[in-house]
Structures are given as structure tokens and as C-alpha cells.
């Protein structure tokens, strides 16, 4: 959250801790560690526990990963198994 590198705020919405949810959490965490180690904040939210957030965050699919910062906000749905797509979808392509 400091230094020259931009801070990334990501939220991963899952519906319960299913195998797919777990896979998504592992995948996104791996991507973040690889590309933004130390410069990201990842929050995993179980929609069953905070259902009101589904409306507020315009969630329909699970899992959904929302990049809150930096703007513009972007989102990727699915189990995050395709790294390239996740990076493109979240507009996370590293700028030097």
C-alpha cells in the first residue's frame, strides 16, 4: 500500500465454501502473489453470510471477483482458472 506501486483492492464473492469457491480463492490468491505481492488487498466474502452485499455490489454470479481499486472497477466471474483472462478482465496488466 505504499511505495511506487499502486494499491490493488480486490473482493472475491463466493457462495459458501464449495469446491469451486475454494478453487477460486486459491487461483486469485496465486495470481495476486505472483503479480502484486505486497501491493494488494484481497477480501473473500461469503454471500450467504452477507447477502445484502450481493445487491450492493451487483453480484449475480458466484464466484465473482471485483477489482474495487484502482478505478475503473472491473469484475471477473468463474473459478479464476485462466490467469490471462483474470488479468485482462480485472485490468491488472502490470504497468511498469
Amino acid at each position: 500500500m505504499q511505495g511506487p506501486r499502486q494499491a490493488y483492492v480486490l473482493r472475491l464473492f463466493v457462495a459458501g465454501m464449495t469446491a469451486r469457491s475454494t478453487r477460486a480463492v486459491e487461483n486469485i490468491r496465486a495470481i495476486c502473489e505472483e503479480h502484486f505481492a505486497g501491493a494488494y488487498e484481497l477480501e473473500v466474502i461469503n454471500l450467504y453470510e452477507q447477502p445484502a452485499l450481493a445487491t450492493g455490489e451487483q453480484i449475480i454470479a458466484a464466484p465473482t471477483c471485483v477489482k474495487a481499486l484502482p478505478l475503473p472497477a472491473r469484475r471477473v466471474i468463474g473459478d479464476m482458472s485462466n490467469t490471462a483472462r483474470v488479468l485482462a478482465g480485472l485490468d491488472l496488466v502490470e504497468h511498469t
Binding site: 457462495a15 469451486r20 445487491t55 458466484a62 465473482t64 472491473r74 471477473v76 468463474g78 482458472s81
Partner: protein
């Protein structure tokens, strides 16, 4: 299998299936109660067909009238847009949301903002919907329109699997749901949503023909329920959506026995001597210029004279034209307009669709509270809709007027010489009194005639009357019905003159014959007299002759006797004695 309309013995069967009333005027009647409780109903149609309004009405009425809170999940319009769109209908969405009667949720799906990677489901949507339902204890749900999912997400097989799950889930939750769908090419919905909905499918249609819009509603499917397969016209106006069932409100209206004058004394006479029934419906049909407007003007005039309020819907002429035309036959309507007893509502039929006309008429009647309503002419409504629609609309209107006890006079323009049009025949089944104005063409003239084709509940004349438009209004006179048919106009006058001449000639002939008879009698008498004279003369002659002869013979015998006595003859005494006896006989 499908039974159009509402029939007593079917409502018993149908009552087993619980219904959730939509509160949409007319719709609950044709479905005998509304939508199936606890099940999803698909409402589909093209853009602008009114499906969103249908769904919203269902929801808002549920919240306001039936104590059933509801969730509206919109996939297209934002909550603000929705609230704005329906505010004009008097739906206070923000207020209902405030009171926790309704939850609005706008589901925004921007494909460009979403990247898909790997497996997912739509559990987010389920959680969101479930949360909204639980937050207010919703009994009703609207999803408008789910098909947006297909444009927002790429993986169609996931969507389809999830839709199937969604419909099952909705049933499990026991909510009565309306799912809208956009009409597709040759299919009810573009994405085939109908295959997920097995309970009820309603199709809305919005056609614009010759710049006039007509809306129709059809119940494509309604499992376990008798329903009409007909298309029902429906209208959308500032009071919302209303379906016009063909078999409408019913026949429960009272039948008043009060009679009111037609404004034409002779016509009153034809109608059992006392005119129309109060609250009845009168159809006056005839060709152009046959005098329909005059008959209705008389009726309006008579009603205004009684101090009753009249509302006249003019579909072809402006109020100024009507007033001017009626003045030419001696009926001045302007004073009634000035006194607020008479109001004209003029509208070209083509300006609005049929449903708008109906709605405007309803509104005007509600506001003005007339005792008499005139529709002149209803036939022009045909130009904006099909016959069936017009009939359905009029049936509904007539029922409404009857329930209000309003006497209605409808005019209908017929064409051609057969005089009877299909429209008239169809309309006629809903009217109580049917007057037919005909033009009788003969001797190069057109003259007017009037029949009472039917008049329920009263003895009425079955004769044709000649119908005269004079400068002091309509006059009905007897027509001559001779061997060559009905005679009117100057032919009637000629006929009258001819008959007078014939009568005179007849009289003269009679006199002539009487004179001839007198002459004959005189001649006879004279003959008899002369015969008698001759007879008497002859008789006298003969009698004289007979006398003379008789006296001659006596004298001869006397002479002989005298001669014999003088001769004193005795020799021939015995012989003479016998002969004497003969002679003395």
C-alpha cells in the same frame, strides 16, 4: 377444452386452484381470479407491449390491495427509471419501498465489464433475490426480464441450467412470480423461456395498423384452469392496464321500468306509447343522411328538457357542426350546452386506438355523471379496430352504462341498400331497442322510413313509418302500403291525390248508376203503367163484347118464346118440353 369467458359451472372447477389476483381490471375475470398462486407465470410480448406495466401492476396491487408484499427485480430499467415511469399511473413506488411493501432491485449486467473464466453459477442472483424476499416477507416476485442474462453472460449452458434451477427455486419459495420475456422470431420468447414455465403463459401484443395502436392479450397456457383462448383487447392509460373481457361484468344490472320520451311523440307511440326504458341501450342504424343524428338530437333535447345531463360522443362531426345541423331542423342544443346540461366530446376515431377511446369515454362519464349518453356513430370505431374488438369494447361499455343506469343511444352508419350490416347485427345483440332508418327509393326520390326492429320488454309497432325532417324536427307519418309496396314522399302525395281522385270518380260513377237505375225504374214503371192501361182497355173491350153477346142470346130466346106463345103451338109440346129443359140450364 378452452372455454372463452366466464361460466358458472366452470368457476366451480377452477376454484380448486388458488389464484393470486393481479388487480388488473378484467384480467382477473378472464382467468377466474388471477395468476396461479406460488407459481411462475411468463408474460411475454414485443417491445412496448406493456409487459413491464403488467408485471408492475401485479406487484403494486399486491402490495396495496391484497396485502402481499413484492420484489421487483429489474434487469433493464433502473429503479429510478421504473419509479418515474409508473408515477404517472399513480403508483408511488418510493412510498411503497419506504413502507417495506416493495423491494426494487436493479440488476445491472454489463457484458463489457465482465470477464468469464472458468466455472460459475448464478447463486449470487439467488442469494440476492432470497434476501430481498426475506427482507419484507414478499409473496410476489417479478423478474423483468430474465433474458438480459443471455446478453450479459457468455456461457449459455450455465444460464439455462441456472434458469431451470431458478424456476424450481421460485416454486419452492412459494412466491407467485411474473417473469417477462421478449417475443422472438416465431417463438414466444427469444430465449425460449416458455420451456421453463409450465403453469401459465400470457402473450401481450401491440399492433400499430394505420397509425392506430391496438393492444391484445392472449392466455397461451394456463395449466389446470379454464381460460379463454380469445384475444382480449386491453388498454393502457393513465390509470394503468385494463383488459376487456368479451364476456364482461355480467347481466346483474337492474332493469328499471321507468320510461322516458324519445323526443318524438309518434316514436313514443310506436314504442308501446311511452318511449325508451330508462337505462336501456338504443341502437339507431341507417345509411348516410337517413336521420340518425336527428333521432339522437331529439332524444338529447328531450332529456335536457327533463333537466337530465347528457354526454354526447361525436366521432365524425365537431360539436359546432352538430349544433348547427340540428338547428336546421328546429332543435337548438346550444342552450343546453350553455346551461351545462349537455356536453360534447368530439374525437376523430383515428386519433386514438380503441382502448384509448374506451378509456376516455369511461373517464368522461365518471366525471360528467350523465343520465343519457350518445355515441355518434359507433360504426366509425370500426376504422380503428376489428369488428370483434369493437363489439367487445361496446359490450363492455354498454354493460358499464347499464350498471350506472345510464340510457345510451348508439348510432351506426350502414352502407349499401341491404341496410343491415354485420356490425349492426353484432352490436344489436347487446342493445335493447333497435331502430332502423331506411331510405326508400322510388320514382326518382329518396325518402326516409323508420322501423322498430326490436324493443325488448315492450309492445312495439311493427309498422314502417315515413320519417320526415321538417324545420321543426322529426315527424313520423303513416306510409301507404299498397299492392306495389310502401309509398313515401311525393309518390305518397301523388298516391294520396290519386286516391282522392279515384274516390271522387267512384262517387260520380255511383251517382251515375243511381241515376240510371232511377231512370230504369221510371221506364219500367212507365211500361208497367202503359201495359196496365192497355190491359185495362182490352179488358174493358172484351167485357163489353161478352155482355153484348150474352144479352143478344137471351133476347133471341125470349123472342122465340114470345113467338111460340103467340102461335099457341101444342103439337110440339112434348118435344119442345125436353128442349126447354136444355135451354134453361
Amino acid at each position: 377444452m378452452a372455454i372463452p369467458g366466464i361460466h358458472g359451472h366452470h368457476s366451480r372447477i377452477v376454484a380448486r386452484l388458488p389464484k393470486s389476483p393481479t388487480g388488473i381490471d378484467g384480467f382477473d375475470q378472464i382467468t377466474q381470479g388471477g395468476l396461479p398462486v406460488g407459481r411462475p407465470t411468463l408474460v411475454c410480448g414485443g417491445a412496448g407491449c406493456g409487459k413491464t406495466l403488467f408485471a408492475l401492476s401485479f406487484l403494486v396491487h399486491g402490495a396495496t390491495r391484497f396485502d402481499e408484499p413484492g420484489v421487483y427485480m429489474s434487469f433493464e430499467e433502473s429503479t429510478d427509471e421504473l419509479a418515474q415511469n409508473v408515477a404517472s399511473l399513480g403508483f408511488d413506488l418510493p412510498g411503497l419501498i419506504e413502507k417495506k411493501k416493495i423491494v426494487l432491485d436493479h440488476v445491472r449486467i454489463e457484458r463489457s465489464e465482465i470477464e468469464e473464466t472458468g466455472d460459475y453459477d448464478l447463486e449470487g442472483l439467488f442469494i440476492r433475490l432470497g434476501f430481498a424476499i426475506d427482507s419484507i416477507g414478499a409473496r410476489r416476485v417479478v423478474l423483468d426480464t430474465l433474458e438480459s442474462l443471455f446478453s450479459g453472460l457468455a456461457n449459455e449452458s450455465i444460464i439455462r441450467a441456472e434458469l431451470r434451477r431458478l424456476f424450481r427455486w421460485l416454486k419452492d419459495r412459494g412466491v407467485t412470480a411474473v417473469i417477462t420475456g421478449e417475443r422472438g422470431d416465431g417463438t414466444l420468447t427469444r430465449q425460449g423461456l416458455e420451456e421453463y414455465v409450465s403453469d401459465a403463459v400470457i402473450l401481450l401484443d401491440h399492433r400499430v395498423t394505420e397509425q392506430v395502436s391496438t393492444r391484445r392479450l392472449r392466455i397461451v397456457k394456463y395449466r389446470g384452469s379454464a381460460h379463454g383462448t380469445n384475444e382480449y383487447p386491453f388498454l393502457i392509460d393513465e390509470e394503468g392496464i385494463a383488459v376487456l373481457p368479451v364476456t364482461s361484468i355480467g347481466l346483474t344490472h337492474a332493469a328499471p321500468s321507468e320510461r322516458i320520451s324519445t323526443g318524438v311523440a309518434r316514436l313514443d307511440t310506436m314504442l308501446g306509447g311511452r318511449g325508451y326504458f330508462r337505462g336501456s341501450t338504443i341502437l339507431v342504424s341507417g345509411t348516410a343522411g337517413a336521420g340518425k343524428s336527428s333521432v339522437s338530437a331529439h332524444f338529447v333535447d328531450a332529456a335536457c328538457r327533463r333537466g337530465e345531463r347528457c354526454l354526447a360522443f361525436e366521432f365524425e362531426e365537431s360539436p359546432q357542426q352538430v349544433v348547427r345541423n340540428m338547428r336546421s331542423i328546429g332543435i337548438d342544443l346550444q342552450p343546453w350546452v350553455d346551461r351545462g346540461l349537455l356536453e360534447f366530446q368530439a374525437a376523430r376515431p383515428s386519433v386514438h386506438g380503441l382502448e384509448m377511446h374506451l378509456s376516455r369515454m369511461h373517464r368522461a362519464i365518471e366525471r360528467f355523471r350523465p343520465r343519457v349518453v350518445v355515441l355518434d356513430p359507433v360504426s366509425s370505431l370500426i376504422s380503428v379496430a376489428t369488428q370483434g374488438d369493437v363489439q367487445a369494447t361496446l359490450t363492455r361499455l354498454v354493460d358499464y352504462l347499464k350498471m350506472q343506469g345510464i340510457t345510451a343511444l348508439l348510432t351506426s352508419l350502414t352502407h349499401g341498400r341491404t341496410e343491415l350490416e354485420q356490425t349492426d347485427v353484432e352490436i344489436s345483440s347487446i342493445v335493447d331497442t333497435w331502430l332502423l332508418l331506411v331510405t326508400l327509393e322510388s320514382s326518382g326520390e329518396r325518402n326516409r322510413g323508420l322501423y322498430v326492429l326490436k324493443s325488448r320488454g315492450m309492445g312495439h309497432s311493427n309498422q314502417i313509418r315515413e320519417f320526415l325532417l321538417t324545420d321543426h324536427g322529426v315527424e313520423l307519418v303513416d306510409v301507404y302500403a299498397g299492392p306495389s309496396g310502401v309509398v313515401t314522399g311525393s309518390a305518397r302525395l301523388t298516391q294520396e291525390a290519386e286516391e282522392r281522385a279515384a274516390a271522387l270518380a267512384h262517387e260520380q260513377e255511383l251517382e251515375r248508376r243511381e241515376r240510371a237505375l232511377a231512370r230504369l225504374r221510371a221506364a219500367f214503371d212507365a211500361e208497367v203503367a202503359s201495359l196496365r192501361a192497355r190491359f185495362e182497355a182490352d179488358q174493358a173491350d172484351l167485357a163489353t163484347g161478352i155482355d153484348e153477346q150474352r144479352s143478344g142470346a137471351t133476347r133471341l130466346r125470349d123472342d122465340r118464346r114470345a113467338i111460340a106463345e103467340r102461335r099457341r103451338a101444342d103439337a110440339a109440346q112434348s118435344g119442345n118440353g125436353r128442349r126447354q129443359g136444355d135451354e134453361s140450364d
